[in-house]
């Protein structure tokens, strides 16, 4: 693993996240920045997806269950050379880069998501299909901590545990913030680890903004042959942009010109 290479990809992705949201003057920068390292790891280390096989279903697949962080997915697919869309068209009329991702518009998007709780449920279906096809491919779903207040998340967890989908990995993006504030204040979904364990998951924790830590978590997923794996990834919402970090106000608002310039300054080079 080339940590410096990954850091450079993540930096490029973060710059494009901020640029998309700034250009659109709309979107969700906080959660997108927070999960950028996880997406970087998935697309540059973990999954067998590349620009040549992205159009096929017989490969590892990723479902962005927290679909509002689409800027992170678009920027990652762009960084990986899978898409060549104009990222500045994000959220604009006629663009393929919809506010929430559409699998039929954007190459490499494995499921249309946006309505919280549904992505993980569809990912369980994909994992069942992989088992039927005995293709040995893996399915990953990234679920927000606020999203896990949705009951459907737990219906899906129950099914994955019940069917012992060992090639299924759910990553909980635990940044402790949702639109209305701290998750613990709005509607506390924690402890996620104990819940996942109770639903029959192999549970691993990691620092979701540290590649060495993320790598260990996915290694634990690979070693598990009986149960699905839940990675509880501790992240900082707004990671990399000083004034956005750990501030729920940046869940769904766009920076102005001055803030944009500041953000690009913060994201000038790998730290």
């Amino acid at each position: 693993m080339d940590v410096n290479g990954l850091k450079q990809h993540a930096l490029n992705i973060r710059r494009n996240i901020v640029t998309q949201v700034y250009t659109a003057q709309s979107g969700h920068p906080g959660g997108s920045l927070g999960c950028a390292d996880i997406l970087t790891y998935l697309y540059f280390e973990e999954m067998d997806v590349n620009k040549d096989n992205a159009g096929s279903a017989s490969r590892d697949r990723f479902v962005l269950s927290k679909g509002h962080t689409s800027p992170a997915l678009y920027a990652t697919l762009y960084e990986a050379g899978i898409i060549n869309e104009d990222l500045k068209s994000f959220r604009q009329l006629g663009s393929n880069l919809q506010g929430h991702p559409n699998m039929n518009y954007v190459k490499g998007v494995d499921m249309s998501t946006g309505s919280l709780g549904q992505g993980i449920s569809t990912a369980v279906g994909m994992a069942l299909a992989n088992r039927l096809d005995a293709n040995g491919k893996r399915v990953y779903a990234l679920v927000g901590d606020g999203e896990s207040e949705e009951g459907l998340v737990w219906e899906a967890m129950m099914a994955a545990g019940h069917y012992k989908l060992a090639d299924f990995c759910v990553i909980f993006d635990l940044n402790h913030l949702q639109i209305d504030g701290n998750i613990e204040d709005v509607m506390n979904p924690t402890p996620l680890d104990k819940k996942a364990e109770a639903f029959g998951f192999n549970v691993v924790e990691c620092d979701g903004n540290d590649f060495e830590s993320i790598a260990k978590a996915f290694d634990a997923f690979h070693k598990e042959k009986e149960k699905p794996t839940a990675i509880i990834a501790h992240t900082a919402k707004g990671k990399g942009v000083s004034f956005m970090e750990n501030n729920y106000a940046w869940h769904g608002s766009a920076p102005n010109e001055e803030q944009y310039n500041q953000a690009m300054e913060d994201l000038k080079e790998v730290k």
Binding site: M111, A123, A127, D133, L152, M158
Partner: protein, 301 residues
């Protein structure tokens, strides 16, 4: 003969799942009621029970379909179309995935279970979704043909079936064309548009009032041209549905009429914006006007 449409579904699906290796069947703890148990017996490895979790069943169906499977997902209509509505909307219809939502126990004919289980708004809900096709077969032969048809038709489909036995309208020689309405009987001044078990009632009523009877199995897409011609060639039109007057067949026919200069009045025979209640199937249907006698009464008024 009389047969439950859900039985016909179970038989046909058991045949299809063996013939077509891409078919996967999901159910939500109602395999004996929806009759997907027949498919499970025929091919247990491609039948999954989602448990009492209809929303997750629809999500899993979407994921399986995104992996190239042709998915049949079954539950009672009130849970399939109602409870899981938004999953069907966002994870099946929006991405145009190959999922066949085959709902049984639709309408008042559920009987004893009462209003909580009597879906009277499912056609309305499903019809409003872009990319969704909606079918309401009236008997066992039409049900089998619809199931064959949706299995071969790419994209989301909703099939509405009932719990109780319904008389045969057709026989095994009938060649169905679901792109067209089926004019089963030709009458004089009155045309009755019917779907589901109201086709049988309309046919009975037509004997007395000499009406044209039109079976509208494909409620969406709907055969606009034939319906326009039938409206124009009759003096009075009636829609007969075991469904809410809002959003179902009455709405579909009225929407077509509204776009034309045709003046033929359209009168609904439907569940008049009310919930049903417990009772024997025949008694409930009678109380809420789902009978030939009521059709005759309305037409003669």
């Amino acid at each position: 003969m009389a047969q439950e449409t859900r039985n016909a579904y179970g038989e046909e699906l058991a045949k299809l799942i063996v013939e077509n290796k891409d078919i996967v069947v999901l159910d939500a703890d109602l395999t004996k009621s929806t009759k997907t148990i027949e498919a499970k017996k025929a091919c247990p490895e491609r039948h999954f029970n989602a448990g009492i979790a209809e929303c997750n069943m629809m999500g899993m169906a979407a994921g399986l379909a995104a992996s190239g499977k042709t998915v049949f997902a079954s539950s009672f209509a009130v849970f399939a179309a109602g409870r899981a509505f938004e999953i069907i909307r966002n994870s099946i219809c929006y991405p145009h995935l190959n999922v066949k939502v085959c709902a049984t126990h639709a309408g008042l004919a559920v009987g004893e279970d009462g209003a909580s289980h009597q879906a009277i708004e499912d056609v309305s809900l499903m019809r409003t979704l872009p990319n969704m096709r909606v079918f309401v077969p009236c008997d066992q032969y039409e049900t089998k043909a619809v199931i064959d048809y949706v299995a071969k038709t790419e994209g989301p489909c909703y099939v509405r079936m009932g719990r109780g036995k319904v008389e045969d309208v057709y026989d095994e020689n009938k060649k169905f064309d679901f792109t067209k309405v089926d004019v089963i009987r030709k009458g004089k001044d009155v045309v009755l548009f019917a779907m589901g078990l109201m086709v049988q009632e309309a046919l009975k009523a037509a004997e007395e009032i000499d009406a044209t009877v039109v079976n509208v199995c494909s409620v969406k897409p709907i055969d606009e041209e034939s319906i326009k011609e039938l409206l124009a060639s009759h003096k009075e039109a009636y829609t007969c549905e075991e469904h809410s007057v809002i959003g179902g067949l009455f709405s579909a026919v009225s929407e077509i009429k509204a776009k034309t200069s045709i003046t033929t009045p359209v009168t609904p025979i439907a569940v008049m914006d009310t919930f049903g209640e417990s009772g024997k199937m025949k008694d409930v249907l009678k109380k809420y006007g789902m009978t030939a006698e009521h059709i005759i009464e309305v037409v003669k008024k």
